[in-house]
């Protein structure tokens, strides 16, 4: 039956292509903005997922389309346009250090420290209480406490990761590292507390005191917390990493085939965000210029780096799924002779470093990294998706990373330095690995000497040997999609190549295509074709297409 389904899909694809007879490049290519803000006047449904269902179902079932292929929401340059999911930020337009450090924070967005914080919701009586408060300005925040034994770990993780993911391009809430004066916590009359057993009762001042009794006090008596500001709009609950929302007209690309969700795997492995799952996302129905649409956020970044949701990260998380059936079978049969990788890790400063926790770079292997459980977008990530993510990640330079780490207010300078060094080393390992799986040429531009490009592995100082480039030119007819060879491929060492003249009388629909292979014996994967399409225009050539792979 699966064969029948494939056949039907092929039929549909064929019919669509034939019916459209579409040009490869449209006049507005490359599209840098996917306007997925079509007015949605009717509020989409609020979705609440079962954690147990989500956790178990992903173990036993591969959600999403059966056809694994390339991402569907990339433009003709193989880049992700801006959308309600993603905004090209630092990698496309360099942000200043100040902008990076500010991240998503809005002016005056931090909770007001001077006034009273009014608790209007409380979710648990467990070890880590969760409050929602309103400050004097009327802004609402979700307040999260640190584990008593690790008074900085969760808030540092949340704040640093928030700035990073914002710079990388994702929508994230304004997460502030704040200090609560317990004497300024008041309870809104009628506020109820929900305990671990689902019961609600009126929250009293005594209960409030009891709940925060173990939180470590700063020298001035305050308690360090993360204050996560309510995101704009009506919360609709999480987005799943597969399929689309059937009640959102703008959501037409299956989530598992969105590049920014696939590439999130690379970023998550870098910062060890093992908790990348639907439950830690949020959709919001927002209004802009009188129109409504759904915006998509990443939430709960407190489980990054060496931090778990509460205290230190569990040692095995990020090394295998929480329930990895293949590993379980292997372990069961091995009589203990097979040792899972995480047992072999020597955490350099664990548990002495109370904020870095279980965060290290020595044993880190980007491709072996795992999040909590199978993420349909992650398992479909291709080398092209990973390359896209890796180059965006590398746009953050060492001094910028250091500045972002400092936003976590890690009190021990030595520990902060360690944290930064691990982050830097994991960034290097991640990028080097994925740059070695494709032809890592990028940053194509038309200059005075011709078509120029950058070899990313060389740029970032990774072992690159002495690559040569085989470059040939073709003509591409955008009306009928045909190619015609223009020049024989030539080998050269330089990263700039002269642009040949088009035949006399060529119309505007006849484009130039440079086919470039990188030749380096130690990196066979670099010998992949990159097709760079140049569209003629009144002011010269414009790069309109980049095709990677065969």
């Amino acid at each position: 039956m699966r064969g029948l389904w494939k056949l039907s899909t092929l039929l549909l694809l064929g019919i669509s292509a034939a019916a459209l007879g579409a040009p490869k490049f449209y006049p507005d290519d490359p599209v840098w903005e996917d306007n997925d803000r079509l007015d949605t006047p009717e509020q989409p449904a609020e979705l609440e997922l079962s954690d147990i269902y989500d956790r178990f179902s992903h173990i036993f079932y591969d959600f999403g389309s059966r056809q694994y292929g390339e991402a569907e929401n990339v433009n003709t340059l193989d880049e992700v346009p801006d959308s309600s999911w993603y905004t090209n930020r630092h990698a496309k337009r360099r942000m200043s250090l100040e902008e990076l450090v500010r991240g998503p924070d809005s002016p005056g967005g931090a909770p007001d420290r001077e006034g009273v914080w009014t608790v209007f919701r409380s979710k648990t009586q467990g070890l880590t209480p969760g409050f929602q408060i309103e400050d004097r300005k009327g802004d609402r925040y979700v307040i999260k406490f640190n584990a008593p034994e690790n008074p900085e770990i969760n808030s540092s993780s949340e704040v640093i990761a928030t700035k990073l993911f914002y710079a990388l391009g994702y929508n994230v809430p304004e997460n502030y590292l704040a200090f609560i004066d317990p004497s300024k916590l008041e309870i809104k009359p009628g506020t109820k507390i929900k305990d671990l057993y689902g019961d609600e009762e009126l929250l009293t001042q005594d209960q409030l005191r009891w709940l925060i009794r173990k939180a470590q006090r700063e020298p001035d008596g305050t308690i360090r917390v993360t204050a996560s500001k309510y995101i704009d709009g009506v919360p609709l609950g999480p987005h799943r990493y597969f399929e689309t929302r059937s009640d959102d007209p703008n959501d037409v690309i299956p989530h598992e085939n969105r590049r920014e969700l696939r590439g999130l795997r690379v970023f998550s492995s870098w910062v060890n965000h093992d908790d990348t799952r639907a439950q830690n996302s949020q959709d919001a129905w927002v209004e802009e210029d009188g129109k409504h649409y759904v915006r998509h956020y990443l939430l709960d970044l407190g489980s990054c780096f060496g931090s778990g949701s509460i205290g230190f990260q569990l040692p095995w998380l990020s090394y295998h799924y929480w329930m990895d059936l293949e590993l379980i079978k292997k372990n069961a049969k091995s009589f203990g002779l097979h040792t899972p990788t995480y047992h072999k890790v020597e955490w350099p400063h664990y548990p002495e470093y109370k904020t870095a926790g279980r965060f290290e770079a020595e044993s880190y292997r980007p491709h072996e990294w795992r999040n909590d459980y199978r993420n349909p977008a992650f398992v479909r990530m291709t080398d092209r998706d990973a390359f896209w993510a890796a180059k965006i990640m590398m746009a953050l330079e060492p001094d910028e990373l250091r500045a972002l780490v400092r936003t976590g207010l890690i009190s021990d300078p030595e520990e902060e330095q360690y944290f930064y060094a691990v982050l830097l080393e994991r960034q290097r390992k991640t990028a080097e690995f994925y740059f070695n799986r494709v032809n890592p040429l990028d940053q194509f531009r038309v200059g005075g000497a011709g078509l120029e490009f950058t070899h990313l592995s060389e740029k970032y100082g990774f072992p690159s040997g002495a690559p040569t480039y085989r470059i040939g030119w073709s003509l591409f007819d955008n009306r009928d999609g045909t190619y015609r060879e223009l020049t024989e491929p030539q080998q050269q060492k330089e990263r700039v190549v002269a642009i040949p003249a088009r035949p006399r009388g060529s119309g505007p629909e006849l484009f130039l295509v440079a086919e470039i292979h990188t030749l380096e014996p130690d990196h066979p994967a670099w010998n992949q074709r990159i097709g760079v399409t140049l569209r003629p225009g009144s002011g010269g050539y414009e790069i309109v297409g980049i095709e990677r792979g065969p």
């Binding site: 029948l4 599209v31 079962s50 671990l196 059937s246 007209p249 037409v252 299956p254 040692p315 040792t339």
Partner: protein, 427 residues
């Protein structure tokens, strides 16, 4: 790059028919049967830009929006997560009244009951009262007050306990290591206990405690046959003729040198001393000294742990006093010699060795192979590793981050094969 096929596949799969049915529909549509494809409804103008293509895909979808929900199964699970009935029933209860499972001596069968809890989240005071009944017909009632509670950061804790037990069919095979399995008999032990204690635990490395209380025991015919008095001579079985009330006092000291990783490694020691003084008679006064060493040694990595337990207990009667048989420690069963029945060997002294090789199958599950050996004896001169009863087997242990919660052991000895399902840590 924004594939034209996107629109055709844009609708949520969840709200569409199951794939094979979808396939049939799609083929039918492609061949002109059924509802016409959108492209066939009217010849649309060719899009002139990428933005127009994308807009059309969305406009097309807007005409066919469907509710976005979760499946009924997921809804049910979500409901149970919001309202965790099992936890409510067994932990918090309703107005403090809750159901109880387990909590009787090993070998009692399935235990169920009801209880009351006051001070679930209090770090100062907690009170529990339980009534239990087992499938073997055992009954217990207990009331326990703790102050401060385990939630407190204070190193010292106190408790008061009142307990009634009616264990109607405890096994008795006679005394000594050469007792015969064929002479299995049963007796009833009905006891009442009132005690109090203090524990001082300044950290996880060291603990010292002391208890004192009153114990009253009645021994009677077992509810199962044969009853012990029909198999053994009561006059030759110490403690049958007279069952005095005892003042029980004692204490223990423990050193825990295990680390605090998920699979702890290290060694721990515990020494205990208990004194039983008859309230009205000194005919059965005795002192018990017990010691236990546990070691968990990673073999290379912590996915392979060699666990070892060595335990011995010695009860000595004063002058002419005899240790009552029903207060002698026993070995045999799920917590000691797993290849034998519960209470299989009984005497004034015992020695027990458990060795186990465990390997990690999953973070929350270990498999293990084990060997047990032990003996009971009456004369301290018999202490040693000769004449041990032995067994071996395989097992599985389910963990949570706070410890072992469930164990399955299949053990073999010269008395057959035993399956044990038990809760809590063994060692």
């Amino acid at each position: 790059m924004f594939s034209p096929a996107v629109a055709a596949r844009a609708r949520s799969i969840r709200t569409r028919p199951w794939p094979p049915f979808r396939a049939a529909l799609a083929i039918a549509a492609g061949l002109g049967f059924g509802a016409p494809l959108p492209a066939q409804e009217a010849a649309p103008a060719e899009p002139s830009s990428r933005a127009e293509i994308l807009l059309k895909q969305r406009q097309e979808k807007q005409k066919n929006l469907e509710p976005y929900t979760i499946s009924k199964w997921e809804q049910r699970l979500l409901k149970s997560e919001k309202r965790p009935l099992a936890q409510k029933l067994f932990v918090k209860g309703f107005q403090g009244f809750r159901a109880v499972i387990g909590g009787m001596p090993s070998g009692s069968g399935f235990v169920f009951g009801a209880g009351y809890l006051y001070g679930l989240n209090s770090d100062q005071f907690q009170f529990t009262a339980n009534a239990r009944r087992s499938t073997r017909g055992y009954t217990t009632f207990d009331a326990l007050a703790e102050f401060p509670t385990r939630l407190s950061d204070l190193p010292i804790r106190a408790h008061l306990l009142a307990q009634y037990q009616d264990l109607t069919a405890l096994s008795f095979y006679g005394l000594g290591g050469d007792s015969s399995r064929e002479r299995r008999s049963f007796f009833q032990m009905e006891d009442r206990r009132l005690s109090g204690g203090l524990t001082y635990r300044p950290g996880h490395r060291f603990e010292i405690g002391a208890q004192a209380g009153l114990l009253s025991v009645n021994i009677g015919s077992g509810s199962r046959r044969p009853s012990f008095e029909t198999v053994f001579d009561p006059s030759a079985t110490p403690g049958v003729g007279e069952q005095p009330e005892f003042w029980v006092s004692g204490g223990q000291v423990g050193f825990n040198l295990h680390d605090q990783e998920f699979r702890p490694a290290g060694v721990s020691f515990e020494l205990g001393l208990q004194r039983y003084d008859g309230r009205d008679s000194d005919a059965h006064d005795f002192t018990r000294v017990s010691g236990e060493i546990q070691a968990h040694i990673p073999l290379g990595y912590r996915n392979r742990i060699f666990a070892l337990r060595l335990r011995s207990s010695h009860s000595s009667g004063d002058a002419d006093a005899e240790v009552p048989f029903y207060l002698m420690e026993t070995i045999g069963g799920a917590r000691t010699l797993r290849g034998f029945n519960e209470y299989r060997f009984r005497d004034r002294r015992n020695l027990l060795i458990n060795a186990e090789y465990r390997w990690e199958v999953w973070n929350y599950l270990d498999f293990g192979v084990f060997a047990d050996a032990g003996k009971v004896f009456s004369d301290s001169g018999d202490f040693g590793f000769s004449n041990l009863q032995a067994g071996y087997g395989v097992g599985a242990r389910i963990h949570t981050p706070t410890g072992t919660t469930l164990r399955f052991d299949l053990a073999r000895s010269n008395e057959g094969i035993k399956l044990h399902i038990s809760g809590g840590p063994r060692f």
